[in-house]
């Protein structure tokens, strides 16, 4: 394709289009090739990071069980294909600490992926970890390790509504320092958009999953060592 360029120097218009088209095709080919070669490794890395994060968002957990939430309820991950992935954490005595739930949503620049821990006992969120993001360095990326922000997720209320449909109070992010209710998240000042994104994705995920998790709490408590 690009050899045409040399033979037609008198028609720069076509030459330019051919060159740019050729280079773009070459670029696309290279990127797709590398994408396919590296994807298995990237997936494995992400999975490993997610499994490590389970113990961060479930304080006191010692063992982990991989589950899926399907229409039949909570089943071990190996026995089903569809449904949402969940990770139940148990303490040293075998008691349920909570369930780690992955969630994702649009941040300021790209998708933010998080994992949060839900304790059916206190009906609250007990921890949150950011798995991946591309927020602005120095501003939005504070969501990863800002201590005051993470303190929000130590007992954030996530009570199921009396009719069992969604949460009684939706989880929401408020401006820094304006947190009044136990279901509100205090935003980081200077990272309001990123903080809001976390509150929003957590609310969406919690509204959809937590009622089902509460209904299946007995199944979750059974730790058959799977």
């Amino acid at each position: 394709m690009t050899t045409d360029v040399q033979t037609q120097p008198s028609t720069p218009g076509t030459a330019m289009i051919l060159t740019l088209g050729g280079i773009a095709m070459l670029a696309g080919l290279l990127v797709v090739l590398v994408y396919h070669l590296t994807m298995p490794f990237i997936e494995a890395n992400r999975q490993a990071a997610l499994e490590r994060a389970v113990f961060d968002v479930l304080p006191g957990a010692a063992t982990r069980r991989d589950l899926r939430l399907t229409e039949e309820g909570v089943v071990p991950a190996a026995q089903a294909d569809g449904g949402r992935r969940l990770y139940a954490g148990y303490n040293a005595d075998g008691g349920l600490v909570g369930v780690a739930i992955p969630a994702a949503g649009q941040g300021y620049q790209d998708t933010i992926r998080i994992l949060y821990g839900y304790d059916p006992g206190c009906e609250c969120i007990i921890g949150m970890a950011v798995l991946g993001h591309k927020e602005t360095p120095g501003l939005g990326d504070k969501i990863v390790d800002d201590e005051d922000f993470h303190a929000n997720f130590d007992g954030l209320q996530a009570e199921v509504a009396p009719d069992g449909d969604g949460l009684r109070h939706p989880i929401k992010t408020v401006k820094s320092g304006e947190k009044d209710d136990p279901w509100e998240i205090d935003a980081i000042s200077g990272a309001t958009i990123s903080s809001r994104a976390i509150g929003k994705m957590m609310n969406q995920s919690a509204q959809a999953l937590i009622p089902a998790l509460k209904a299946n709490a007995d199944q979750l408590r059974q730790n058959d060592g799977g």
Binding site: L20, I23, T38, I42, A48, K134
Partner: protein, 218 residues
């Protein structure tokens, strides 16, 4: 057009070495300051950024050089940008595959290699006018110069700001780290220090050469 593309001069030591000292991209040309200041808070980050940039520089220089006779002058910048962006995307995937921790530490700065003016500058000023092998040697020299410069900043900042080198403690228990050194202002302090040193050495060398010439003349 023709003389722009013909380059009969041979590859010599200077093709490689000019990137290390005489035209060092960071300390002499002050190019690519964004990653220089942003990701040099530890030695590991500095090395990873340096290697990633060197790879992009090398690969894009070779490709630009190979295609130098095919790319029309009017669309050359667009072509260079597409070529550079391709290799940056490849680097991005590879780093994700190697280590997610490293990827998260480097953050958005991997993607920002695209706008590192050192790479576009080399493509425009050097690779598009010379043959692939020579362009590759020069790109390697420039990349090494860039990596060494990042390492200069990274090691000083990690040493003073965290009291460690490559993660290993150096000063013992009683050392109180200068946290400011691993924060953004520290990057400017350390860069300023290195620039002062380089300029002083260069000026001293220039004075010596001058004195030697005067002595020879007299």
């Amino acid at each position: 057009m023709a003389d722009r593309k013909a380059d009969p001069s041979p590859i010599d030591a200077d093709t490689f070495l000019e990137g290390l000292w005489r035209e060092n991209p960071v300390f002499v040309m002050l190019l690519g300051m964004c990653p220089v200041l942003a990701v040099t808070n530890s030695v590991v980050n500095a090395i990873a950024m340096g290697v990633a940039t060197t790879f992009v520089l090398l690969a894009s220089s070779v490709l630009v050089s190979l295609l130098r006779n095919l790319i029309p002058k009017q669309v050359r910048i667009a072509s260079y940008i597409v070529i550079i962006a391709t290799f940056v995307t490849i680097t991005d995937y590879v780093i994700q595959a190697v280590s997610l921790t490293l990827y998260n530490a480097l953050g958005a700065f991997i993607q920002l290699i695209v706008v590192n003016c050192m790479i576009l500058g080399r493509a425009e000023a050097y690779a598009s006018k010379t043959r692939p092998l020579k362009a590759a040697v020069n790109a390697l020299g420039m990349g090494s110069g860039f990596t060494i410069a990042l390492l200069c900043l990274g090691s000083v900042r990690e040493l003073l700001g965290a009291g460690t080198l490559l993660g290993f403690p150096v000063f013992g228990e009683n050392f109180a780290p200068w946290v400011v050194m691993i924060l953004p202002p520290g990057g400017f302090f350390v860069l300023g220090g290195w620039l002062l040193l380089f300029d002083w050495i260069n000026q001293r060398n220039a004075r010596k050469t001058e004195e030697a010439e005067v002595a020879r003349a007299g």
